[in-house]
């Protein structure tokens, strides 16, 4: 039963980011709303990676919004998992090497 929790959690993450996220609210988030209400929203600049093929949680060139958003979510989950599992396993090994 070793890592049933981790397996279930990863599947859930894929389902949430790849499927459910399509139904997320597209209203401005708290900071954006405050920036708009107070009046400093237009001081925002485009990110240097605004032209990235995944910018704004979509895949450039994919017309269908549900698929575009879902694919971006899956790519995000897989990449985050790769980096974070890699980092935490590496740190754990690093400890072992200590006297």
């Amino acid at each position: 039963m070793k890592n049933r929790l981790v397996a279930a959690g990863l599947v859930l993450s894929l389902v949430l980011a790849g499927g459910a996220s399509f139904y997320a609210s597209s209203q401005p988030d708290g900071l954006e709303k405050v920036a708009g209400d107070v009046g400093f929203l237009d001081s925002a600049q485009e990110s240097a990676v605004e032209d990235s093929p995944l910018a704004g949680y979509g895949v450039a060139g994919v017309e269908n919004e549900r698929i575009s958003n879902g694919l971006a979510g899956v790519v995000g989950v897989v990449s985050t998992a790769a980096i974070s599992f890699g980092l935490f396993y590496a740190l754990r090994r690093f400890k072992k090497d200590q006297p």
């Binding site: 993450s13 997320a24 209203q27 401005p28 708290g30 990235s52 995000g76 990449s79």
Partner: protein
């Protein structure tokens, strides 16, 4: 809550990037001490799950949405040092891959969410755990309280950054009240998601929950 480039000037952003770098470096050290065979996979899952749930904006009030920040959740599940690293990985992925949060603003965002959100959340959790009766239900309740506190804490971080280095000048008190007011509402959502997630892990693998294990560890007799 992800600050885009441009809101805060470059000197202030650079100063917070330096502060965040110190915090992340300390967390790398702390995390290396606490991670083992059993906790490393949960730590990876925590970061991944937070990335996924951060995509799920929920409506909070007219024309406003919020999403999980996850600092309190991560701190309770895997401890504050690993939590800081988890949130930092998530924020960097979002900024680099999805243009969510500016690149020059990365230090600001890491400071607010990976440091303030995590440590205020963890502090609130410890405080609530101390007051509540010693049982599993209290862990869930304390987790929800921690989630509630962590969001306005991160919002205060932004207000501080705005006070120090806003590129547009509006009254600090206006920004403060708007930020804290809105983020208390989002904090309620954070409390619900944090409570549900912690109770799910408590139901299946309570032995892995840092905030619960910590409580039992104090009672253990240490061997020389």
């Amino acid at each position: 809550m992800h600050i885009p480039d441009g809101f805060i000037d470059i000197p202030t952003s650079a100063a917070f990037a330096a502060l965040s770098a110190v915090g992340v470096a300390a967390s790398l050290k702390g995390a290396a001490r606490s991670l083992d065979e059993k906790t490393a996979p949960l730590a990876g899952l925590t970061a991944t799950f937070i990335f996924a749930v951060q995509m799920l904006n929920f409506p909070v009030a007219a024309g406003t949405s919020g999403h999980l920040l996850g600092g309190a959740l991560a701190a309770i599940l895997v401890g504050p040092y690993v939590a800081t690293l988890s949130l930092t990985v998530v924020l960097l992925m979002q900024a680099l891959l999805f243009a969510d949060g500016g690149l020059s603003a990365a230090g600001l965002n890491i400071f607010n969410m990976s440091l303030l959100g995590v440590w205020f959340g963890y502090g609130a959790f410890l405080l609530a755990k101390k007051i509540l009766p010693k049982n599993k239900v209290s862990i869930t309740a304390a987790a929800a309280f921690a989630g509630l506190i962590s969001v306005p804490a991160a919002a205060l971080g932004f207000t501080l950054q705005y006070a120090l280095g806003a590129t547009a000048t509006f009254s600090i008190t206006t920004v403060l009240t708007a930020m804290v007011g809105t983020h208390i509402l989002i904090g309620i959502g954070e409390a619900i998601i944090t409570g549900l997630s912690v109770s799910a892990v408590m139901a299946s693998r309570p032995d892995l929950v840092f905030g619960y294990r910590g409580a039992k560890k104090n009672l253990e007799i240490r061997q020389g």
